[in-house]
C-alpha cells in the first residue's frame, strides 16, 4: 500500500505534533508514502472565496502530480480532503473547465486526466487497512476511556462530494476507529458542527463560543478527550480553549484535543513524546495516564 502523501499546511505549521504522530503510526501500519513536495496549499476554502478557478487549478495541479507518481493521494487534514474532493468533483463534472485548467498547467508540462483518488487517512483506515488489521497493531485496550469524536465540516459536507453513496461507512468512520481501540465513542451534538476556526481571525467572539459549546458539551458528557481528523479544528479547540473556558459557568473545561493518529498511537503503546502529546495547550497528562494504565490488548 503506497500513497502520494499530502500532509497539508497546518501539520507543517501550527500542529507539528500531528505530522510526528501520523508518521509514527503510519510506519507502524506499514503504509508507504511519498510526499508530493511540490504541491501547493489547497486554499482551504479561503482562496476559493476570492477566485474559485485559482483554487481549483492549484488542486488539480496536485492531482496531476499524484497521477504522474501513479499513486492515490492520502491526506491527514479533513479540510484539505474536503477542498480537494470538491475541486475534483467540479473538474470531473465539467470537461471544458478541466481543459481550461489543464491549459494553465501545460506550462509546466502537467495534465490531469481525472484518475486521482483522494483519501483521508481516516478513510484509509476503515476502507483499505480494515479494522481487523488495524487492531493487530494495538498493544493496549483503551477500555475505560471515553473519546468524543469531532469530525468538523469538510469531511462530512457537502455529502455528495465526499463519496458517501459509494462508501456509507465514511459517515461513521471516526466512531468506528475510536471503538476499535476499545474506548467508548461519546455521542455529541457538536461532532459535525463548525469548530469556529474559519472566523477566528474575523469574529473571534463567535469562534470562541463554538469552542466553548463543543468542548463544554463533550466534557459534560464525560469524555476524557476529543478526537479529530482535522488539524484546523484542533488549532481552535485546543489553542482557544483557555479563552472559551471563561464562558462556562465553572470557568473550566480542560478537555484534551487529540489528533486521530495520537489516539491510535496510544492504543499502539507508543510513548507520549513520539506522539507529540507534550505539544498541546490543554494538558494531555490525564489521558496519557489512563491509556498507560489500560490493559494489554487481546488479539
Amino acid at each position: 500500500m503506497k500513497y502520494a502523501f499530502y500532509p497539508g499546511c497546518v501539520a507543517r505549521g501550527g500542529t507539528p505534533e500531528l505530522l510526528v504522530s501520523a508518521n509514527a503510526v503510519m510506519d507502524r501500519l506499514g503504509i508507504e508514502r511519498e510526499e508530493i513536495v511540490s504541491a501547493a496549499c489547497t486554499g482551504a476554502g479561503v482562496l476559493q472565496e476570492r477566485n474559485q478557478k485559482l483554487g481549483d487549478a492549484l488542486n488539480v495541479r496536485t492531482f496531476a502530480l499524484a497521477e504522474k507518481m501513479g499513486l492515490p493521494i492520502m491526506t491527514i487534514c479533513s479540510t484539505c480532503q474536503g477542498v480537494m474532493s470538491q475541486a475534483n468533483r467540479r473538474v470531473l463534472r465539467d470537461p471544458e473547465y478541466l481543459a481550461e485548467i489543464n491549459e494553465v498547467l501545460a506550462e509546466e508540462g502537467l495534465e490531469y486526466k481525472g484518475t486521482t483518488v483522494i483519501k483521508h487517512f481516516l478513510w484509509v483506515l476503515v476502507e483499505e487497512i480494515g479494522i481487523e488489521e488495524l487492531q493487530k497493531t494495538f498493544t493496549k485496550e483503551l477500555s475505560g476511556l471515553k473519546f468524543a469524536p469531532f469530525y468538523g465540516c469538510y469531511i462530512v459536507r457537502p455529502s455528495d462530494a465526499l463519496g458517501f453513496d459509494e462508501h456509507p461507512e465514511r459517515q461513521t468512520s471516526l466512531e468506528t476507529v475510536i471503538e476499535s481501540t476499545g474506548a467508548v465513542a461519546v455521542e455529541n451534538d457538536g461532532k459535525t458542527k463548525c469548530c469556529g476556526l474559519p472566523i477566528l481571525l474575523i469574529n473571534q467572539s463567535n469562534a470562541i463560543q463554538m469552542v466553548s459549546n463543543h468542548t463544554g458539551e463533550a466534557k459534560d458528557l464525560g469524555a476524557d478527550a476529543m478526537v479529530t481528523p482535522c488539524p484546523l479544528c484542533h488549532l481552535n479547540l485546543d489553542g482557544y480553549q483557555p479563552k472559551a473556558a471563561k464562558r462556562r459557568p465553572s470557568g473550566k473545561i480542560d478537555l484534551p484535543i487529540l489528533h486521530l493518529p495520537q489516539m491510535l498511537g496510544l492504543a499502539m503503546g507508543m510513548q507520549p513524546k513520539e506522539l507529540g502529546l507534550q505539544r498541546h495547550i490543554i494538558s494531555t497528562k490525564e489521558v496519557i495516564g489512563k491509556a498507560a494504565a489500560a490493559p494489554a490488548a487481546v488479539s
Binding site: S38, C41, E49, N51, R61, C153, R157, I202, Q278
Partner: protein, 315 residues
C-alpha cells in the same frame, strides 16, 4: 409495517420541557414523514401542531429537523432516513423560538430578509416599457430565486447558533439575488451594507446551509461570491478581506500557508490592542513548541506562482 416517530412537544400554556412523545404509525414504502405526521394529527393525537400546505416541496412550510437535520418533510420518505425501520426523531427547526410543538416563530427570518431590501432599486432613466435583463442573467438568478424560504438553512446555521445578529444564509442568498440583478442600480451600496459586521464575513463556511437546502440554492456559495464582489468593489478594510488577501499572498509566495502572517495581517499589522490580546495564545504556543516560527514552502514555489499569474494576471 409500523414506524415509530419520536416527536418533540411543547405547549405554551404549560411551558417547561415537555420532552418527546412516541407514536407508532402504520406506513408503506412510499410514506413521507409528512404523511406520517398528518396521520398522527388526524387519527391519533389532534393536539400535535405543525405547519404544512402544498405537500409538493413548493410552499416551504413543512421544514423541520429529522434526526437532527433540517428537511422538508413532504419531500422526505421515511425509508430514506430509516431504511431498517429505525425510530425517527422529529424536532422543530433550530435557531428560531418554538411557538408550539413543531411550529416556530419566523419573525427574525423575515426581519433579516427585509433588512437586505429584497426588491429592485433601479437607477437612471426609466425605460419606456419594462426593464430588460438578459436570459443568461436571469437563468443564473433562477438558482437563487428557487429559494422557497423554508428556513432549513437558518435552522442549521452554525453561526446563528452562537450569534443571532448574523444576517444568515437565507437573507444573504436573497441579497445576492439583488446584487447580481442587472436591473438593480444599487449594487455598490448593497455590498457596502453586506460588508458590515453580521454580514458576509461572519459566515464560517461550515456548509450546513448547502447540505440542507432542499432547492440547491447554495447559500454559502453565494456568500463567497458576495465577499469577492465586496473586495472587488473596494471594501477592503475588514479582517475578512485582509484574511483572504494575506492567505492568497502567502500561497502565491511560498506555495503554502503562512499561519503567523495570516493572523497578524488579518487583525491588522498596526492593530496593537488586538495583537496584544493574542499574546497569551502565542506565548502558550511557544511554550508548547508549536509556534510556527518559519514558513514552510512548496519545493517549487515558482510553479505555484505561475498558476496564480496565469489565472489572475498580476493582481
Amino acid at each position: 409495517m409500523e414506524q415509530t416517530l419520536r416527536v418533540k412537544r411543547y405547549d405554551p400554556e404549560n411551558p417547561g420541557d415537555a420532552g418527546y412523545q412516541e407514536y407508532n404509525v402504520e406506513v408503506t414504502d412510499t410514506t413521507t414523514i409528512l404523511d406520517a405526521l398528518l396521520t398522527i394529527r388526524e387519527e391519533m393525537d389532534g393536539t400535535l401542531s405543525m405547519r404544512c400546505s402544498c405537500r409538493a416541496s413548493i410552499c416551504g412550510s413543512c421544514a423541520m429537523r429529522v434526526d437532527g437535520q433540517a428537511k422538508l418533510v413532504c419531500k422526505t420518505r421515511l425509508n430514506s432516513v430509516a431504511p431498517d425501520g429505525e425510530t425517527i426523531t422529529i424536532d422543530p427547526l433550530g435557531n428560531m423560538p418554538v411557538i408550539k410543538d413543531l411550529v416556530v416563530e419566523f419573525k427574525s427570518f423575515w426581519d433579516k430578509t427585509r433588512a437586505v431590501e429584497p426588491f429592485l432599486k433601479p437607477e437612471g432613466i426609466v425605460p419606456e416599457a419594462e426593464y430588460i435583463a438578459s436570459d443568461d442573467d436571469m437563468v443564473h438568478l433562477v438558482g437563487v430565486v428557487n429559494c422557497i424560504q423554508c428556513g432549513a438553512c437558518v435552522s442549521d446555521c452554525t453561526v446563528l447558533e452562537v450569534d443571532d445578529s448574523f444576517l444568515g444564509p437565507a437573507a444573504l442568498a436573497k441579497a445576492y439575488r439583488f446584487v447580481k440583478d442587472p436591473r438593480d442600480g444599487h449594487q455598490k451600496d448593497r455590498l457596502e451594507d453586506l460588508n458590515k459586521p453580521s454580514g458576509v464575513w461572519d459566515c464560517t463556511r461550515c456548509m450546513q446551509c448547502v447540505e440542507v437546502c432542499p432547492k440547491d440554492v447554495d447559500p454559502m456559495g453565494r456568500i463567497m461570491v458576495l465577499r469577492d464582489m465586496a473586495m472587488e468593489a473596494g471594501f477592503n478594510n475588514t479582517s475578512g478581506s485582509r484574511h483572504t488577501e494575506s492567505f492568497a499572498k502567502s500561497v502565491k509566495k511560498n506555495g503554502r500557508l503562512d499561519e503567523m502572517k495570516l493572523a497578524v495581517d488579518s487583525m491588522g499589522k498596526f492593530n496593537f490592542p488586538a495583537l496584544i490580546a493574542e499574546a497569551p495564545v502565542g506565548l502558550r504556543a511557544i511554550r508548547k513548541g508549536k509556534f510556527p516560527w518559519k514558513a514552510h514552502k512548496s519545493s517549487e514555489p515558482d510553479k505555484v506562482k505561475q498558476v496564480f499569474e496565469k489565472i489572475e494576471g498580476n493582481k
